[in-house]
Protein backbone atom coordinates (compact mmCIF):
# COMPACT_ATOMS: atom_id res chain seq x y z
CA UNK A 1 0.00 0.00 0.00
CA UNK A 2 1.52 3.31 -1.11
CA UNK A 3 0.95 6.82 0.21
CA UNK A 4 -0.64 5.89 3.57
CA UNK A 5 -0.57 8.54 6.29
CA UNK A 6 1.98 6.39 8.17
CA UNK A 7 4.53 6.56 5.34
CA UNK A 8 3.78 10.24 4.69
CA UNK A 9 4.30 11.22 8.34
CA UNK A 10 7.11 8.64 8.58
CA UNK A 11 9.39 10.48 6.17
CA UNK A 12 9.18 13.55 8.41
CA UNK A 13 10.19 11.33 11.32
CA UNK A 14 13.32 10.39 9.37
CA UNK A 15 14.17 14.09 8.95
CA UNK A 16 14.17 14.76 12.72
CA UNK A 17 17.23 16.34 14.23
CA UNK A 18 18.11 17.63 10.79
CA UNK A 19 18.28 20.83 8.76
CA UNK A 20 16.27 21.43 5.58
CA UNK A 21 17.83 24.11 3.39
CA UNK A 22 16.34 26.37 0.70
CA UNK A 23 18.26 26.07 -2.56
CA UNK A 24 17.75 27.83 -5.91
CA UNK A 25 20.28 25.95 -8.10
CA UNK A 26 21.65 22.39 -8.38
CA UNK A 27 25.00 23.78 -7.18
CA UNK A 28 23.35 25.11 -4.00
CA UNK A 29 21.71 21.71 -3.53
CA UNK A 30 25.07 19.95 -3.72
CA UNK A 31 26.55 22.39 -1.19
CA UNK A 32 23.59 21.78 1.13
CA UNK A 33 24.01 18.00 0.85
CA UNK A 34 27.75 18.26 1.46
CA UNK A 35 27.07 20.38 4.53
CA UNK A 36 24.84 17.63 5.96
CA UNK A 37 21.32 18.87 5.14
CA UNK A 38 18.73 16.09 5.62
CA UNK A 39 16.64 17.53 2.74
CA UNK A 40 16.50 20.56 0.45
CA UNK A 41 13.68 22.87 -0.60
CA UNK A 42 13.84 23.65 -4.32
CA UNK A 43 12.90 27.27 -5.09
CA UNK A 44 13.33 29.89 -7.80
CA UNK A 45 13.92 32.67 -5.28
CA UNK A 46 14.72 32.49 -1.57
CA UNK A 47 12.20 34.31 0.64
CA UNK A 48 14.48 37.34 1.14
CA UNK A 49 14.39 37.94 -2.64
CA UNK A 50 10.66 37.27 -2.91
CA UNK A 51 10.19 39.91 -0.22
CA UNK A 52 12.47 42.38 -1.99
CA UNK A 53 11.20 41.87 -5.53
CA UNK A 54 7.50 41.60 -4.75
CA UNK A 55 4.94 40.47 -7.34
CA UNK A 56 3.07 37.17 -7.37
CA UNK A 57 5.27 34.32 -6.16
CA UNK A 58 4.34 30.93 -7.64
CA UNK A 59 5.49 27.31 -7.76
CA UNK A 60 8.97 26.97 -9.32
CA UNK A 61 9.61 25.88 -12.91
CA UNK A 62 9.50 22.04 -13.11
CA UNK A 63 12.81 22.09 -15.03
CA UNK A 64 14.52 23.75 -12.08
CA UNK A 65 12.94 21.32 -9.63
CA UNK A 66 13.97 18.33 -11.76
CA UNK A 67 17.55 19.59 -12.05
CA UNK A 68 17.75 19.86 -8.27
CA UNK A 69 16.24 16.38 -7.82
CA UNK A 70 18.94 15.02 -10.14
CA UNK A 71 21.73 16.83 -8.29
CA UNK A 72 21.25 15.21 -4.86
CA UNK A 73 20.28 11.91 -3.22
CA UNK A 74 18.61 13.43 -0.14
CA UNK A 75 14.85 14.20 -0.24
CA UNK A 76 13.77 17.23 -2.26
CA UNK A 77 10.82 19.39 -1.22
CA UNK A 78 9.10 22.14 -3.20
CA UNK A 79 6.54 24.83 -2.42
CA UNK A 80 3.07 25.37 -3.82
CA UNK A 81 0.73 28.27 -3.12
CA UNK A 82 -1.81 27.98 -0.29
CA UNK A 83 -4.94 26.39 -1.75
CA UNK A 84 -3.38 25.80 -5.19
CA UNK A 85 -4.10 22.08 -5.47
CA UNK A 86 -3.12 21.96 -9.14
CA UNK A 87 0.40 23.17 -8.37
CA UNK A 88 0.44 20.37 -5.80
CA UNK A 89 -0.73 17.83 -8.40
CA UNK A 90 2.09 18.97 -10.69
CA UNK A 91 4.67 18.63 -7.92
CA UNK A 92 3.39 15.13 -7.14
CA UNK A 93 3.65 14.22 -10.82
CA UNK A 94 7.29 15.38 -10.76
CA UNK A 95 7.93 12.87 -7.96
CA UNK A 96 8.87 15.48 -5.37
CA UNK A 97 9.33 14.00 -1.87
CA UNK A 98 7.46 16.63 0.17
CA UNK A 99 5.24 19.61 -0.67
CA UNK A 100 5.32 22.79 1.42
CA UNK A 101 1.95 24.54 1.12
CA UNK A 102 3.60 27.82 1.87
CA UNK A 103 2.69 31.34 2.89
CA UNK A 104 5.97 32.46 1.32
CA UNK A 105 4.25 32.16 -2.06
CA UNK A 106 1.21 34.27 -2.90
CA UNK A 107 -1.96 32.50 -1.69
CA UNK A 108 -4.28 31.17 -4.40
CA UNK A 109 -7.31 30.72 -2.13
CA UNK A 110 -8.28 33.11 0.66
CA UNK A 111 -10.42 30.61 2.58
CA UNK A 112 -9.33 27.07 1.89
CA UNK A 113 -6.12 25.19 2.17
CA UNK A 114 -5.50 22.12 0.01
CA UNK A 115 -7.27 18.90 0.98
CA UNK A 116 -4.05 16.98 1.45
CA UNK A 117 -5.47 13.52 2.23
CA UNK A 118 -5.94 12.36 -1.39
CA UNK A 119 -2.29 13.01 -2.28
CA UNK A 120 0.35 10.26 -2.10
CA UNK A 121 3.05 12.85 -1.51
CA UNK A 122 3.19 14.24 2.03
CA UNK A 123 2.68 17.93 2.90
CA UNK A 124 4.27 20.27 5.41
CA UNK A 125 2.34 23.41 6.46
CA UNK A 126 3.14 26.46 8.54
CA UNK A 127 1.40 27.52 11.75
CA UNK A 128 1.41 30.33 14.27
CA UNK A 129 -0.39 28.52 17.09
CA UNK A 130 -2.04 25.25 18.09
CA UNK A 131 -5.35 26.02 16.39
CA UNK A 132 -3.68 26.60 13.06
CA UNK A 133 -1.44 23.53 13.45
CA UNK A 134 -4.37 21.23 14.21
CA UNK A 135 -6.46 22.58 11.31
CA UNK A 136 -3.59 21.80 8.93
CA UNK A 137 -3.26 18.29 10.40
CA UNK A 138 -7.01 17.76 9.96
CA UNK A 139 -6.58 18.70 6.28
CA UNK A 140 -3.90 16.02 6.00
CA UNK A 141 -0.58 17.76 6.71
CA UNK A 142 1.97 15.08 7.69
CA UNK A 143 4.43 17.61 9.11
CA UNK A 144 4.10 21.05 10.69
CA UNK A 145 6.50 23.96 10.92
CA UNK A 146 6.36 27.36 12.52
CA UNK A 147 5.74 30.14 10.03
CA UNK A 148 8.18 32.59 11.54
CA UNK A 149 8.65 35.56 9.25
CA UNK A 150 10.48 34.20 6.23
CA UNK A 151 13.25 36.16 4.55
CA UNK A 152 13.94 38.47 7.50
CA UNK A 153 16.86 36.73 9.22
CA UNK A 154 14.94 37.57 12.39
CA UNK A 155 14.02 34.59 14.57
CA UNK A 156 11.57 36.42 16.83
CA UNK A 157 8.41 35.29 15.00
CA UNK A 158 9.50 31.63 14.89
CA UNK A 159 10.07 31.81 18.64
CA UNK A 160 6.61 33.34 19.13
CA UNK A 161 4.98 30.58 17.08
CA UNK A 162 6.88 27.70 18.71
CA UNK A 163 6.05 29.05 22.17
CA UNK A 164 2.40 29.51 21.20
CA UNK A 165 2.13 25.86 20.10
CA UNK A 166 3.89 24.67 23.27
CA UNK A 167 1.66 26.81 25.48
CA UNK A 168 -1.44 25.58 23.66
CA UNK A 169 -0.46 21.96 24.29
CA UNK A 170 0.46 22.56 27.93
CA UNK A 171 -2.93 24.14 28.49
CA UNK A 172 -4.65 20.95 27.30
CA UNK A 173 -3.05 18.86 30.03
CA UNK A 174 -5.33 20.14 32.78
CA UNK A 175 -8.60 20.02 30.82
CA UNK A 176 -11.38 17.44 31.12
CA UNK A 177 -13.23 16.42 27.98
CA UNK A 178 -15.95 19.07 28.12
CA UNK A 179 -13.33 21.76 28.63
CA UNK A 180 -11.31 20.39 25.73
CA UNK A 181 -14.31 20.69 23.43
CA UNK A 182 -14.73 24.30 24.57
CA UNK A 183 -11.03 24.99 23.98
CA UNK A 184 -11.36 23.50 20.50
CA UNK A 185 -14.13 25.99 19.79
CA UNK A 186 -12.10 28.91 21.11
CA UNK A 187 -8.98 28.19 19.05
CA UNK A 188 -10.76 26.82 15.96
CA UNK A 189 -9.27 23.36 16.39
CA UNK A 190 -10.78 20.01 15.31
CA UNK A 191 -11.68 18.11 18.50
CA UNK A 192 -10.18 14.76 17.46
CA UNK A 193 -6.76 16.23 16.64
CA UNK A 194 -6.82 18.22 19.87
CA UNK A 195 -7.62 15.03 21.83
CA UNK A 196 -4.58 13.41 20.28
CA UNK A 197 -2.39 16.39 21.24
CA UNK A 198 -3.69 16.08 24.81
CA UNK A 199 -2.97 12.34 24.93
CA UNK A 200 0.54 12.66 23.43
CA UNK A 201 1.53 15.94 25.11
CA UNK A 202 2.78 17.14 21.70
CA UNK A 203 1.62 17.51 18.10
CA UNK A 204 0.85 14.11 16.55
CA UNK A 205 3.20 14.88 13.63
CA UNK A 206 6.78 16.11 13.39
CA UNK A 207 7.15 19.84 14.09
CA UNK A 208 10.04 21.89 12.64
CA UNK A 209 11.02 25.53 13.09
CA UNK A 210 11.08 27.84 10.08
CA UNK A 211 11.23 31.52 9.30
CA UNK A 212 14.10 33.84 10.16
CA UNK A 213 16.72 31.32 11.28
CA UNK A 214 20.12 32.77 10.32
CA UNK A 215 22.72 31.53 12.82
CA UNK A 216 23.73 28.30 14.58
CA UNK A 217 22.49 29.85 17.82
CA UNK A 218 19.08 30.51 16.23
CA UNK A 219 18.83 26.84 15.23
CA UNK A 220 19.83 25.64 18.71
CA UNK A 221 17.38 28.10 20.32
CA UNK A 222 14.52 26.59 18.33
CA UNK A 223 15.64 23.03 19.16
CA UNK A 224 15.76 23.90 22.88
CA UNK A 225 12.23 25.25 22.53
CA UNK A 226 11.26 21.70 21.58
CA UNK A 227 11.03 21.56 17.78
CA UNK A 228 12.17 18.41 15.98
CA UNK A 229 14.43 20.10 13.42
CA UNK A 230 14.84 23.32 11.44
CA UNK A 231 14.30 24.83 8.01
CA UNK A 232 16.80 27.47 6.93
CA UNK A 233 15.66 29.61 4.05
CA UNK A 234 17.57 32.70 3.08
CA UNK A 235 19.94 32.38 6.05
CA UNK A 236 22.50 30.18 4.30
CA UNK A 237 22.83 31.32 0.70
CA UNK A 238 22.38 35.01 1.58
CA UNK A 239 25.36 34.81 3.96
CA UNK A 240 29.04 35.41 3.22
CA UNK A 241 30.25 31.78 3.39
CA UNK A 242 27.30 29.44 2.73
CA UNK A 243 29.09 26.05 3.07
CA UNK A 244 30.72 26.98 6.36
CA UNK A 245 27.51 28.46 7.77
CA UNK A 246 25.46 25.49 6.57
CA UNK A 247 27.81 23.02 8.26
CA UNK A 248 27.72 25.08 11.45
CA UNK A 249 23.91 25.16 11.51
CA UNK A 250 23.81 21.37 10.98
CA UNK A 251 26.22 20.87 13.88
CA UNK A 252 24.25 23.30 16.06
CA UNK A 253 21.06 21.34 15.39
CA UNK A 254 22.72 18.08 16.48
CA UNK A 255 24.49 19.55 19.54
CA UNK A 256 21.77 22.08 20.38
CA UNK A 257 22.12 21.46 24.11
CA UNK A 258 25.95 21.61 24.25
CA UNK A 259 26.96 25.29 24.60
CA UNK A 260 30.70 24.51 24.25
CA UNK A 261 30.07 22.91 20.85
CA UNK A 262 27.82 25.81 19.88
CA UNK A 263 30.59 28.28 20.77
CA UNK A 264 33.02 26.35 18.54
CA UNK A 265 30.74 26.17 15.52
CA UNK A 266 29.52 29.76 15.82
CA UNK A 267 33.03 31.21 15.47
CA UNK A 268 34.44 32.75 12.29
CA UNK A 269 31.45 32.24 10.02
CA UNK A 270 31.69 35.58 8.22
CA UNK A 271 28.77 37.91 7.82
CA UNK A 272 25.24 36.58 8.39
CA UNK A 273 22.42 37.64 6.07
CA UNK A 274 21.11 41.17 6.50
CA UNK A 275 18.22 41.19 8.94
CA UNK A 276 14.91 43.01 9.10
CA UNK A 277 13.09 44.33 12.16
CA UNK A 278 9.51 43.06 12.07
CA UNK A 279 7.88 46.48 12.83
CA UNK A 280 9.68 47.94 9.79
CA UNK A 281 7.64 45.65 7.52
CA UNK A 282 4.30 47.11 6.35
CA UNK A 283 1.35 45.08 7.69
CA UNK A 284 0.40 43.78 4.25
CA UNK A 285 4.00 42.63 3.76
CA UNK A 286 3.89 40.14 6.63
CA UNK A 287 3.97 36.62 5.19
CA UNK A 288 2.94 34.85 8.40
CA UNK A 289 -0.50 36.46 8.24
CA UNK A 290 -1.25 34.42 5.10
CA UNK A 291 -3.08 31.15 5.83
CA UNK A 292 -6.36 30.64 7.60
Amino acid sequence: MKGSFKVKAGLAQMLKGGVIMDVVTPEHARIAQEAGACAVMALERVPADIRKEGGVARMSDPDLIRSIMEAVTIPVMAKCRIGHFVEAQILQALGIDYIDESEVLTPADEENHIDKHPFKVPFVCGCRDLGEATRRIAEGAAMIRTKGEAGTGNVVEAVRHARAVNAGIRKLQGLNHAELVHEAKLIGAPVDVLEECQRLGRLPVVNFAAGGIATPADAALMMQLGVDGVFVGSGIFKSEDPLKRAKAIVAATTYYDKPERLAEVSAGLGKAMDGLEIPSIPKDGLLAARGW
Binding site: S4, G36, A251
Partner: protein
Protein backbone atom coordinates in the same frame (compact mmCIF):
# COMPACT_ATOMS: atom_id res chain seq x y z
CA UNK B 1 22.89 12.03 15.38
CA UNK B 2 19.93 12.58 13.08
CA UNK B 3 16.77 10.64 12.28
CA UNK B 4 14.11 8.69 14.13
CA UNK B 5 16.09 8.16 17.33
CA UNK B 6 13.29 9.25 19.69
CA UNK B 7 10.97 6.58 18.26
CA UNK B 8 13.63 3.89 18.88
CA UNK B 9 14.19 5.16 22.42
CA UNK B 10 10.47 4.77 23.14
CA UNK B 11 10.33 1.27 21.65
CA UNK B 12 13.48 0.11 23.48
CA UNK B 13 12.35 1.49 26.83
CA UNK B 14 9.00 -0.26 26.44
CA UNK B 15 11.01 -3.41 25.73
CA UNK B 16 12.81 -3.09 29.07
CA UNK B 17 16.08 -1.44 28.02
CA UNK B 18 17.72 1.68 29.39
CA UNK B 19 18.88 4.05 26.64
CA UNK B 20 21.30 6.87 25.91
CA UNK B 21 21.66 9.03 22.80
CA UNK B 22 25.10 8.64 21.22
CA UNK B 23 26.48 11.87 19.82
CA UNK B 24 30.15 11.73 20.92
CA UNK B 25 32.68 8.92 21.26
CA UNK B 26 32.39 9.06 25.04
CA UNK B 27 28.69 8.16 24.72
CA UNK B 28 29.74 4.76 23.28
CA UNK B 29 31.32 3.59 26.53
CA UNK B 30 29.60 0.80 28.43
CA UNK B 31 26.87 0.05 25.90
CA UNK B 32 25.43 -3.47 25.42
CA UNK B 33 23.88 -2.57 22.09
CA UNK B 34 23.47 0.30 19.66
CA UNK B 35 20.73 1.33 17.26
CA UNK B 36 21.56 2.99 13.94
CA UNK B 37 18.19 4.58 13.22
CA UNK B 38 16.46 5.62 10.04
CA UNK B 39 17.28 9.11 8.82
CA UNK B 40 19.40 10.44 6.01
CA UNK B 41 22.42 8.16 5.63
CA UNK B 42 24.59 10.90 4.08
CA UNK B 43 23.78 13.27 6.94
CA UNK B 44 24.35 10.64 9.63
CA UNK B 45 27.64 9.45 8.14
CA UNK B 46 28.99 12.99 7.77
CA UNK B 47 27.98 13.94 11.30
CA UNK B 48 29.62 10.80 12.70
CA UNK B 49 32.78 11.48 10.73
CA UNK B 50 32.94 15.11 11.89
CA UNK B 51 32.37 14.02 15.49
CA UNK B 52 35.20 11.45 15.26
CA UNK B 53 32.62 8.76 15.93
CA UNK B 54 32.90 6.67 12.77
CA UNK B 55 36.13 4.80 13.65
CA UNK B 56 35.31 4.10 17.31
CA UNK B 57 31.89 2.88 16.24
CA UNK B 58 33.39 0.63 13.57
CA UNK B 59 35.74 -0.88 16.17
CA UNK B 60 32.95 -1.38 18.68
CA UNK B 61 30.63 -3.13 16.21
CA UNK B 62 33.47 -5.20 14.74
CA UNK B 63 34.29 -6.16 18.35
CA UNK B 64 30.82 -7.61 18.90
CA UNK B 65 28.63 -4.69 20.05
CA UNK B 66 25.03 -5.78 19.36
CA UNK B 67 23.72 -3.54 16.55
CA UNK B 68 20.19 -2.87 15.31
CA UNK B 69 20.13 -0.93 12.05
CA UNK B 70 16.99 0.32 10.32
CA UNK B 71 16.83 1.75 6.80
CA UNK B 72 19.54 4.45 6.68
CA UNK B 73 21.32 2.54 9.46
CA UNK B 74 21.59 -0.45 7.12
CA UNK B 75 23.15 1.80 4.46
CA UNK B 76 25.68 3.12 6.97
CA UNK B 77 26.66 -0.48 7.87
CA UNK B 78 26.72 -1.92 4.34
CA UNK B 79 29.79 -3.21 2.54
CA UNK B 80 28.64 -1.76 -0.80
CA UNK B 81 26.37 1.23 -1.44
CA UNK B 82 25.07 1.75 -4.95
CA UNK B 83 23.88 5.24 -5.91
CA UNK B 84 25.17 6.90 -2.76
CA UNK B 85 27.05 10.18 -2.80
CA UNK B 86 30.34 9.77 -4.66
CA UNK B 87 32.42 10.01 -1.52
CA UNK B 88 29.93 8.43 0.85
CA UNK B 89 31.89 6.14 3.12
CA UNK B 90 30.21 4.08 5.74
CA UNK B 91 31.22 1.37 8.15
CA UNK B 92 31.47 -1.46 5.61
CA UNK B 93 30.78 -4.10 8.27
CA UNK B 94 27.64 -5.80 6.95
CA UNK B 95 28.12 -8.12 3.99
CA UNK B 96 25.32 -6.69 1.84
CA UNK B 97 25.15 -4.51 -1.25
CA UNK B 98 22.32 -1.96 -1.06
CA UNK B 99 20.90 0.53 -3.52
CA UNK B 100 19.92 3.82 -1.87
CA UNK B 101 16.26 4.72 -2.40
CA UNK B 102 16.10 1.44 -4.36
CA UNK B 103 12.30 1.28 -4.09
CA UNK B 104 11.92 4.81 -5.51
CA UNK B 105 11.19 8.27 -4.14
CA UNK B 106 8.75 9.17 -1.37
CA UNK B 107 5.65 8.74 -3.58
CA UNK B 108 6.67 5.05 -3.84
CA UNK B 109 7.05 4.56 -0.07
CA UNK B 110 4.74 1.79 1.10
CA UNK B 111 3.52 -0.58 3.80
CA UNK B 112 3.65 -4.37 3.43
CA UNK B 113 3.20 -7.36 5.74
CA UNK B 114 6.28 -9.48 6.29
CA UNK B 115 7.03 -12.96 7.60
CA UNK B 116 10.12 -12.56 9.74
CA UNK B 117 12.14 -15.63 10.83
CA UNK B 118 11.91 -16.27 14.55
CA UNK B 119 8.83 -14.11 15.15
CA UNK B 120 5.80 -16.24 15.89
CA UNK B 121 2.23 -15.14 15.36
CA UNK B 122 0.96 -12.57 12.95
CA UNK B 123 3.01 -11.03 10.12
CA UNK B 124 5.17 -8.01 10.97
CA UNK B 125 3.96 -4.62 9.66
CA UNK B 126 6.72 -3.39 7.34
CA UNK B 127 6.86 0.39 6.85
CA UNK B 128 9.20 1.24 3.96
CA UNK B 129 10.18 4.90 3.50
CA UNK B 130 12.56 5.77 0.65
CA UNK B 131 13.97 2.41 1.61
CA UNK B 132 17.24 0.89 0.45
CA UNK B 133 16.98 -2.19 -1.81
CA UNK B 134 19.23 -5.11 -0.87
CA UNK B 135 20.80 -6.17 -4.17
CA UNK B 136 22.94 -8.86 -2.62
CA UNK B 137 22.58 -10.32 0.86
CA UNK B 138 26.11 -11.80 0.70
CA UNK B 139 26.86 -14.18 3.55
CA UNK B 140 24.18 -12.75 5.86
CA UNK B 141 21.29 -14.82 7.18
CA UNK B 142 18.09 -13.54 5.52
CA UNK B 143 15.26 -13.15 8.07
CA UNK B 144 12.60 -11.75 5.70
CA UNK B 145 12.10 -11.21 2.01
CA UNK B 146 9.81 -9.11 -0.13
CA UNK B 147 9.42 -9.81 -3.86
CA UNK B 148 12.57 -11.91 -3.77
CA UNK B 149 14.78 -9.26 -2.14
CA UNK B 150 16.03 -9.51 1.44
CA UNK B 151 14.47 -6.86 3.71
CA UNK B 152 15.80 -8.15 7.05
CA UNK B 153 19.21 -9.74 7.58
CA UNK B 154 21.33 -10.94 10.45
CA UNK B 155 25.09 -11.32 10.65
CA UNK B 156 26.46 -12.34 14.05
CA UNK B 157 25.32 -9.66 16.52
CA UNK B 158 24.08 -7.29 13.77
CA UNK B 159 20.41 -7.17 12.76
CA UNK B 160 19.61 -4.86 9.83
CA UNK B 161 16.22 -3.98 8.36
CA UNK B 162 15.04 -2.02 5.31
CA UNK B 163 11.86 -1.05 7.16
CA UNK B 164 10.91 0.86 10.32
CA UNK B 165 9.62 -1.20 13.28
CA UNK B 166 10.00 1.94 15.44
CA UNK B 167 7.08 3.55 13.59
CA UNK B 168 4.63 0.69 14.15
CA UNK B 169 4.01 0.06 17.84
CA UNK B 170 4.86 -3.63 17.22
CA UNK B 171 7.68 -4.24 19.71
CA UNK B 172 8.60 -7.82 18.75
CA UNK B 173 11.80 -6.92 16.88
CA UNK B 174 12.92 -4.45 19.55
CA UNK B 175 12.33 -7.11 22.25
CA UNK B 176 14.40 -9.62 20.27
CA UNK B 177 17.18 -7.03 19.95
CA UNK B 178 17.16 -6.29 23.69
CA UNK B 179 17.54 -10.05 24.30
CA UNK B 180 20.41 -10.19 21.79
CA UNK B 181 22.17 -7.24 23.43
CA UNK B 182 21.80 -8.78 26.88
CA UNK B 183 23.22 -12.15 25.75
Amino acid sequence: MQGAFAEHVRALEKSGARTRLVRTREDLEGLDGIVLPGGESTTMTMLMERAGLLEPLREAIAGGLATFATCAGMIVLARDVVDGMADQRGLGLLDVAVRRNGYGRQVDSFEAELDVTGLGGKPFPGVFIRSPLVESAGSTEVMARLDGHAVAVRQGRIVALCFHPELTGDLRLHREFVKLAAS
